[in-house]
Symmetry: C2
Subunit: 347 residues, 2 copies
């Protein structure tokens, strides 16, 4: 198939999205790939495969590549005085646009609006997973536990009952703006950092040494396909510097040693979260396990390098998902009620 | 100010959105209005003010109006061989696009992406309010009660413990696809109807004669401004035929007789729901009151005719909101980590 990998975006995760797209380039085996870059000015560029190196972007040289437009049914090269605009030959768009523009639902809405098939969470799923407050309320409704938390907006008086705690901007991923706070003295600074990135924050108890497990998967023709479960390597907590390396990972991760009952509980929680709003996307759920209870930490709705490194046969799952993307219901437009108003008014 | 009222959309509420835009035309007093229609083919048209009659749309005659494109910073007339494309002179877009495309976050994402200022719920707020499952989980997290419910997707076996109950598609507004079910015999048909519109449904107990109150409002410069509280007129339950008339309403509603403590509880619940994700929008919350307890029934994130008929001075609130729309944080794009990878790799 002809796939368009879309990446970049106006977001704090702009550059890790680039790293992720580059990683994915070497991982996807059975398809013809094109690369579509969204720059900070919200211009789209078609990047030739052999130019897909991070320096192209950091140097600004991508601007020498062909600028394209999004429109109905696809992306189009710009016509000139002597040339007609041409549709870029892509059947399905695959998103590795992490963070804003990608994971917040903006891009999915665009693709949806312009009727372009895509592998990525739909707008709803993006919103639920990119806002930690909404993730927690959604998880709780689905019957999946999350760590207790408090929510504060910019004008609130921040109050913490117990230290250590962890302060997070409500919307960013990849640990951006996240701090572990050991005592009251450190709280103000941590909140200032988090509020620099967002107008709202959440504060959770920090559980040193908590067991953390990552599990990726998706639904292929109505059946779940799971990755292995990984226990991510971490220091005190996974900061951005360490975490962003996931975006460049292409070699298979090591399977965590997990008891069967925990394995089953993790998969059950994943299914509850995924079902049904994440259809069309390959997601990674990061869980905590405390006293044999599973807690959802976060949903990565577009995980770094599509979490390829967690799958024993990534291409099988990826190809399966490509073939079972959700379709939209046809909405009939009628003027029944307008006509009724006319009739009632005698017009 | 120069406002662009946007309406239509590919949705079941296409035509009531038209009715709503026409109503709003006569209600907004202090601004120059333009009208932007989105048709079922997702083409935008600029409709001259004197052509804003529902027949223009039901007859298809709107196609004779000027087609425009959405692009960076606004809408543009198409250039021809002898004419240059021109930006339509609009400062702020105001949405009366109910249902799909409008209330599901698609349009808000587009306006956001193309950097066009707008009065309407942002993408997140749309998602939370257009999906009843997410509304309930969000409300519960905010500390606002909702009626107990069960959620079913297409392949589930639907089971109901108690009749009468009410069956609703999870995503549609304006009572589309909603049925009251009196006994088991009626259940299958009601579910079929609801599933015709959506892949998921919710079923709630139906409380005959329950007290229902509607309250609209928004935040202007950090302060809430509320409408009067109305007790909507209804039969057994508010069906689409009766409800859609709200979309054409322009005369002030009658204030409900509500005890002070209930009045306060309704406003408190509204504030919890609105705060802070609905900033930039004027919404209407529909509540039930059972034994002096307030339950959120639904959030109309783009209420029919902007709920103008609920306000004693609609233009004052509307103008206030226009002047306190949320602004987006500037996101700096850096290549710090890409450069770090290069350094680590020695490249």
């Amino acid at each position: 198939m002809k796939l368009g990998i879309i990446f970049g975006g106006l977001s704090y995760e702009h550059e890790i999205s680039i790293v992720s797209a580059i990683a994915v380039k070497d991982v996807i085996k059975n398809h013809n790939l094109s690369f579509i870059f969204l720059d900070e000015n919200r211009d789209f560029y078609l990047i030739p495969n052999d130019k897909m190196k991070s320096k192209l972007f950091s140097s600004g040289d991508y601007k020498k590549c062909e600028k394209i437009d999004i429109d109905k049914n696809g992306f189009f090269t710009k016509g000139g005085f002597f040339s007609k605009e041409k549709r870029v030959d892509i059947e399905i768009v695959v998103s590795t646009m992490h963070g804003g523009d990608g994971e917040d639902g903006i891009l999915s809405s665009l693709l949806d609006f312009y009727n372009i098939p895509f592998m990525a969470p739909r707008t709803e799923a993006c919103v639920v997973s990119s806002n930690k407050y909404l993730t927690k309320s959604y998880a709780s409704e689905c019957g999946v536990k999350t760590i207790d938390f408090r929510y504060f907006t910019k004008n609130d008086k921040v109050k913490v009952d117990k230290y250590p705690c962890i302060v997070k901007p409500v919307k960013l991923g990849s640990s951006i703006g996240v701090s572990v706070v050991n005592d009251e003295k450190e709280l103000d600074y941590a909140c200032d950092v988090a509020f620099e990135f967002d107008d709202a924050i959440i504060i959770e108890p920090f559980i040193p040494g908590v067991k953390e497990y990552n599990l990726a998967g998706c639904k292929v023709n109505g059946e779940f396909q799971f990755s292995i479960i990984e226990e991510p390597q971490k220091g005190d907590f996974l900061d951005f510097d360490k975490k962003y390396l996931d975006f460049a990972r292409t070699s298979t991760a090591q399977k965590a040693l997990v008891e069967d009952k925990i394995d089953a509980k993790l998969k059950q929680a994943f299914e509850k979260i995924y079902n049904t709003i994440f259809e069309g996307s390959l997601i990674r759920c990061d869980f905590f396990v405390v006293n044999d209870e599973v807690y959802l930490n976060e949903i990565n709705s577009i995980p770094g390098s599509l979490a390829n490194y967690l799958f024993e046969d990534f291409n099988k799952t990826f190809d399966g998902l490509l073939n079972s993307l959700p379709t939209k219901k046809k909405v009939p437009i009628s003027y029944e009620y307008v006509n009724k108003i006319h009739a009632n008014k005698g017009k």
